[in-house]
């Protein structure tokens, strides 16, 4: 699917707030506030983290708050999560206790493969 040009994961601490477009060919952990688009291979919205906007990744773990859409074949929503928006997925796990508002449309893996190539067009 992807060439994995993995580096060390990026970590955005609780004191950080970013407005704009984030692209990473690796893992990104967000504990702060991001407003905009995020494209990653693996994205973790940690507890206390807040993302407003669309995110695309191969794997998304949400333990914080997401206002917007998520596009990922593998999605994990943890108990502490608050999600407002849509989660496009192939495989999803939602923990008991998570606050989910919105739809969770299923898509085949191939759908995300095309997205991978043109995340910005789609977002």
């Amino acid at each position: 699917m992807h060439d994995e040009a993995e580096g060390p994961p990026s970590f955005l601490g609780p004191g950080i707030s970013i407005q704009g477009v984030l692209e990473i060919t690796g893992e990104l952990v967000i504990s702060g506030h991001v407003r905009g688009h995020v494209a990653a291979i693996k994205l973790v919205i940690a507890a206390g983290g807040h993302v407003e906007g669309d995110v695309i990744a191969r794997e998304v773990v949400i333990a914080g708050r997401l206002d917007g859409r998520a596009f990922a074949p593998n999605v994990t929503v943890e108990a502490s999560a608050v999600v407002e928006g849509r989660i496009f997925h192939t495989n999803i796990t939602v923990a008991r206790g998570a606050r989910m508002s919105g739809r969770m449309p299923w898509r085949p893996v191939s759908y995300f493969e095309t997205l991978d190539k043109l995340p910005e067009v789609r977002l």
Binding site: G7, S10, L12, I16, G20, V44, A47, G48, V61
Partner: protein
């Protein structure tokens, strides 16, 4: 799932007492330091040899920094594969190794050797080993031998290692303009000046 754990760690990290281990001792020392200070005060007379008054003082200072540090226990890292287009603001330390197009505002900003920033970097302390195209506004600026700086540097205190490339001017004016807050008023003043002038011209 390992994912799950990963998320847990990073998520609960900020609130959990595990963190102090990460940053080693900054948090624990203050109480001890205070205790020591107290003990020293009482114990000082019997042991003049151990009386190193300077010690208690520096150690007692940390409490304020540590509170600031607690927020920065895990410094934010923007790794080399991360590209950001937009504004970045931080109330904690940042290590930048990736690409940023836009302004960066932080306290202690370290820009790594392979990092590139196009825009203004504001901070109390900026350490540059990579490339900036834009501007630095910081109280303390350090340019290492691998630094490439294209643009002006507003500083109060600067250190430049041999090998650093600078194209731009250095202005020791950081404190004077007090960075952004007063810059805006200046701009406002300028526009305010313009309008009276134009008004006068009309008259």
């Amino acid at each position: 799932m390992s994912l799950f754990n990963r998320g847990d760690k990073s998520g609960s990290g900020p609130q959990q007492p595990e963190r102090p281990q990460n940053q080693t001792r900054p948090a624990p020392p203050p109480p001890q330091a205070k205790a020591e200070a107290v003990i020293l005060k009482t114990a000082e007379p019997p042991r003049p040899t151990q009386a190193e008054p300077p010690r208690p003082a520096p150690i007692v200072q940390p409490p304020t920094p540590t509170t600031a540090r607690t927020g920065a226990h895990m410094p934010s890292v923007i790794s080399k594969t991360l590209k950001i287009k937009g504004q970045l603001e931080s109330s904690e330390d940042i290590q930048i190794d990736g690409d940023i197009e836009g302004d960066v505002r932080g306290i202690n900003v370290k820009i790594g050797q392979n990092a590139k920033v196009k825009g203004t970097v504001y901070g109390d302390e900026v350490e540059l080993a990579g490339t900036i195209e834009g501007k630095i506004e910081s109280k303390k600026v350090t340019l290492t031998g691998t630094a490439r700086m294209t643009g002006d540097i507003l500083h109060q205190d600067i250190k430049i290692d041999s090998g650093a490339f600078i194209s731009g001017s250095l202005k020791p004016e950081y404190g004077k303009s007090d960075s952004k807050p007063t810059l805006k008023p200046v701009a406002g003043g300028a526009s305010a000046n313009v309008s009276p002038l134009s008004a006068a011209a009309r008259e």
